[in-house]
């Protein structure tokens, strides 16, 4: 496409400089704070963070919830993406539009909607009561379950879109070929579809996981502060305690978690591709 490598680099330069100046440099300065101590460079702030039982609990809870949301998004996302790519072009466009639609609404509005749905007098409790499954309203709001539901709804479209794009590149005859050769649906997915759509899964998984880790308003509202997450802890450290060192530690932990998950997903997908 470009005449030479220099031309391509020159074209990329403005964006790279802009990103470096407004993002990389401030973030690097902020993160470097977390390695400073009166005695010089050290990991004392990280050791201090992980020595607190509360921080350990919050760390594992955030990681667990992020992985759960990503895993469930992948399962639902594959099913939805399969269904959508098999539709005729017109219907496919409409379905993709419907999936994208919630993303055009503010996450705050989408989160508040869950208060209506999951509340004591909400649709879910009404249905449970109507079906005779419960006598009294079930407390779903302001729990880890509510945060999970909110995050799943928030980020599922990103997974579906990534997988649709990956599935569209899947050769049309591989699934029928696997069927003819006697593979069941699970084998087809595990041995044919997953390896061939790994890029989509890695991209979607990284977006969903990173989004789940860094979302603030959904855990804050649907968890009601009973369920502390790393991002709510970071907010507290900055706005209440004015403790930028702890906040930098948490920020770097979040970045490390995102990169690790990206690598893990790539490893899983590559391992599958090798089978």
């Amino acid at each position: 496409m470009f005449h030479n490598r220099t031309e391509a680099l020159l074209l990329a330069l403005p964006a790279a400089v802009f990103a470096a100046v407004v993002f990389l440099v401030p973030v690097a300065i902020l993160l470097s704070e977390s390695f400073r101590s009166p005695a010089g460079w050290s990991l004392a702030a990280y050791a201090g963070f992980f020595s607190e039982p509360l921080n350990q609990t919050v760390f594992w809870r955030t990681l667990k919830l992020g992985l759960e949301v990503t895993a469930v998004s992948a399962v639902i996302g594959y099913a939805a993406a399969f269904a959508i790519v098999s539709l005729p072009p017109g219907s496919k466009g409409r379905m993709i539009g419907l999936i994208m639609l919630p993303m055009m609404v503010s996450p705050v509005a989408r989160t508040y909607a869950w208060i209506v749905i999951l509340g004591r007098t909400g649709i879910v409790n009404q249905a449970l009561h109507g079906l005779g499954l419960t006598d009294a309203p079930v407390r779903i709001l302001f729990s880890e379950t509510a945060i999970f539901i909110g995050l799943l709804q928030l980020f599922l479209p990103l997974m579906i879109i990534s997988l649709i794009s990956a599935l569209e590149n899947l050769p049309k005859d591989v699934v029928p070929a696997a069927r003819v050769l006697g593979a069941n649906w699970l084998q087809i997915f595990w041995k044919v579809v997953l390896p061939l759509t790994r890029e989509g899964l890695v991209i979607g998984g990284t977006l969903v996981f990173t989004g789940s880790l860094t979302a603030y308003i959904t855990p804050a509202i649907l968890g009601g502060s009973k369920v502390l997450m790393l991002e709510t802890l970071l907010y507290q450290r900055v706005t209440v305690a004015n403790d930028f060192v702890s906040a930098s530690v948490i920020a770097l932990i979040l970045v490390a978690m995102s990169f690790s998950t990206n690598l893990l997903l790539k490893r899983i997908a590559t391992a599958r591709a090798g089978t």
């Binding site: 508040y112 007098t121 709001l141 009973k226």
Partner: protein
Amino acid sequence: MLKTAVALSTLALFAGAAQAQNKTLTISVYAFAQDEYKEMLYAPFEQKCGCKLVIETGNSVERLAKMEANKANPVIDMAVVSMADALQASRAGLVDRIDTAKLANHDKLYDLAKDPNGDGMSVGYTFYATSIVYRSDKMKIESWADLLKPEIVSHVAFPNVTTNQGPPALYMLEQAMGKDSPDFREAIAAVGAKKDDIVTFYVKSSQLVQLMQQEEIWAAPIGRFSWAPFTKLGLPLAWATPKEGQTGGMNVMIVAKGSKNRDLALQFMDYWLSTEVQTKLAEKLVDSPANKEVKIPPEVAENITYGADTVKSLKLIPSAVALDQRDAWLKAWNSKVGQ
């Protein structure tokens, strides 16, 4: 000769006008109600002083961080912050003593607002009461401790300690429990013991209106400035007057240390404290007046923190306590409630 004199006078007039237009005052304020402030405060002041106001907005943390970063060469001339943040700025050497002799309206302020931190570094311009909004058909709130009663607690939203209303609510709960520890040890433990019963620990007061409308909650401690939307719900809601009294908060004005426009900053502060401006802001429900000469109709007074008796009943957390205990409150809260 005459021509020369006229020419010189005209030149002097234009030069004066140009100089006035060149005067710029940079203020740092909360992002809240900027349209109303522009109409009732900023624009009339610009006209009065012949100067230009540059408005910087943001939350307290961002704005104080900016003042700290520009300490050697201040960009901000004056700022409005909470009482505790004013003390923090004072301890960090970011503010100057306020020459109240240059504030013609200073004597009109309630005593509470004249020197809120007792260090001469700030002047209060507005305050709010914090009490409990509750469903009067479902319960009767007579004490802050009622919030934790078994028949009430499962219908309560309590403010998170990270919000403006969190520490005041804990402060009054501590008093209701007959304790007075600045670290709110007893109150946080009591709330922690009931954390599974309490509906939620809210972070935004706007969230409460929806929860109240859905009958998810029947009671919540709130600031008086949040009261108006509740009155529009058509529900039997009341503002509690607990026997321990009400608490609240105050916002204050400070002058940046090293400001090159200190006199202009004081003029602006004085204008903001004037009966005329404070009345307009109160009538629009923007700020509760710190100026005791402000007179407003009862229907307006109902929605803000107003009147000498109300002011006298407010038990504010001393700024030094708020500042020194902030970390301890957060730590205790996280271990008892957020765990």
